[in-house]
Symmetry: C2
Subunit: 307 residues, 2 copies
């Protein structure tokens, strides 16, 4: 795998695992905002993770769900969007940009989940280009999560369009040397490898879909049925041609980490937020920890005299 | 008190109390750093609170303790300062500036207190001029806490020197319209009123000195013996000529808030960090809440549909 120089920024070092800010630093600032990404740069984490969805007019934007969630967005008049809200794929970029995502809606479960999350006086959904232009001036590595639309009429077309748009944006911004192409949709990672063989691919997995787990989102995701695998997850990622495996943190075992490393894969777990879970992930020798609370992970590492 | 236009920025509004970031946002980022103050501006809090101490060569710097604390500062070679560390009054600005305050020392009680506090790759003690130049470009109001040195050979000289230096810096930066002169040392506030009668004065109080309380610091403070007062604290502040009273939050009662308001004083409590205490302070109708966790206070206000 040594041809992927990007991997140096995602691999654990002598100072322990890499720290990656999930959707920026969601425990501290509203998710997927330029302000959240800037916070990550200020505190010197290794990488950020963010989500790409396409608007109706095919602008790649950085937003998590396929519907603009009424739990975090208000319209131009300041009213919370309805729930369920409009599909991003049916909104123009101009429509989307009119919405304010500077404060989560505390009347919703989501809005009450991160009780230290500050508000922003106003914030807009950033374009992928804007996030990458920011990243180009930083030294952050990037997990670019591509979220193909489960309702797209032609999934192969959807994958090609999104992969091409993301790769083009990455090249335009000049950040290809710090990017991992990241998705639950293992199919789009096949496309990425074909059109951009120099970019490493990073395979997300979430098998059990326990509705009690925080990982669960109301949003639907394009992904293979991993309960039907006839081999281990690390082996499946390696066979697919991936360089990184990114399991839900409650689903990864020490044996799997060792197997993945033996296969030449890096392992990054998401989304690890409690001190107890963070320490367990550090002990397991992961390459990276994706977290809503990057300061908390830094604190755990500092208490061990790591970075 | 209506001659002090600055007070508009410190007085509670229809959206509840003002939010003030204590030493920046100490729960989120290392204290008294430009990065912490910038975070407060990003999230749109109303004001910041910070501490001014003088170096040996009489440069006003923004640092909390009279000794540069080994719990938060490393020397130029990266080693933690000894404990007790050098007195700021005996360090040149150049000496002080060589120290790195980007991460608290997790081997100390202080360094383990804020477990979500992120690190900064490197950070320096800022000068008062630097903080005020930043503030001039922001819309933040400022609690400028003057920390006169209890070991100064001539306290009247110390007070005059510090008050003059701070007032000069405030005027030079053009932020007099957003400043409150703030101190535990009620004596320096007398000096401030004489040399800068246009600046409101803000009286800190901490009476009981319970060693179990988080308010307690190893650092000594110049302050009157408030256990000897023959009148109420609000009355004493009003008699002294102050515009704001800033009690330790565990020591303020509803009756005192009402008395202070009847006397024309504003009331800002410090340092209010737990959700329970924050809500109690909101219920008491304070003008402002000084907190290490400004996002948490914003969350409490948003849950009440306030700002």
């Amino acid at each position: 795998m040594s041809q992927f120089l990007q991997l140096a920024g995602f691999r654990a070092g002598p100072d322990g695992p890499r720290v990656s800010g999930h959707r920026g630093a969601r425990g501290v600032l509203p998710e997927n905002t330029l302000e959240g990404f800037a916070f990550c740069q200020t505190i010197g984490v290794d990488s950020i993770e963010f989500d790409v969805v396409m608007t109706k007019d095919r602008v790649p934007v950085v937003v998590h769900n396929h519907t603009l969630d009424g739990s975090l967005a208000r319209d131009a008049s300041g009213l919370w969007l309805p729930d369920p809200g409009p599909r991003v794929a049916e909104m123009t970029f101009q429509d989307l940009r009119a919405c304010d995502i500077g404060a989560a809606n505390r009347a919703t479960e989501y809005g009450r989940r991160y009780s230290d999350q500050a508000r922003l006086p106003s914030a807009r959904v950033p374009t992928l280009d804007e996030v990458l232009a920011f990243a180009a001036k930083s030294d952050l590595y990037l997990f670019v999560e591509m979220k193909t639309d489960p309702d797209a009429p032609d999934m192969e077309q959807e994958r090609r369009d999104m992969a091409q748009a993301v790769v083009a944006a990455v090249r335009k911004a000049g950040v290809a040397n710090r990017v991992a192409m990241h998705s639950f949709d293992w199919g789009i990672l096949d496309v990425c490898r074909k059109i951009a063989p120099d970019l490493p691919t990073s395979y997300l997995s979430y098998v059990t879909k326990n509705p009690q787990e925080e990982a669960q989102s109301a949003d639907r995701t394009v992904e293979p049925d991993l309960t039907q695998l006839t081999m281990s997850l690390p082996q499946a990622v390696a066979d697919a041609g991936g360089q990184m495996w990114c399991p839900f943190f409650m689903e990864v075992t020490q044996e799997q980490v060792e197997e993945a490393h033996a296969l030449g894969l890096l392992v990054n777990a998401w989304t690890v937020n409690s001190v107890r879970d963070i320490n367990r992930m550090i002990d397991m020798g992961l390459d990276g920890i994706v977290t809503d609370f990057p300061g908390r992970v830094q604190d755990c590492l500092l208490r061990r005299n790591l970075k």
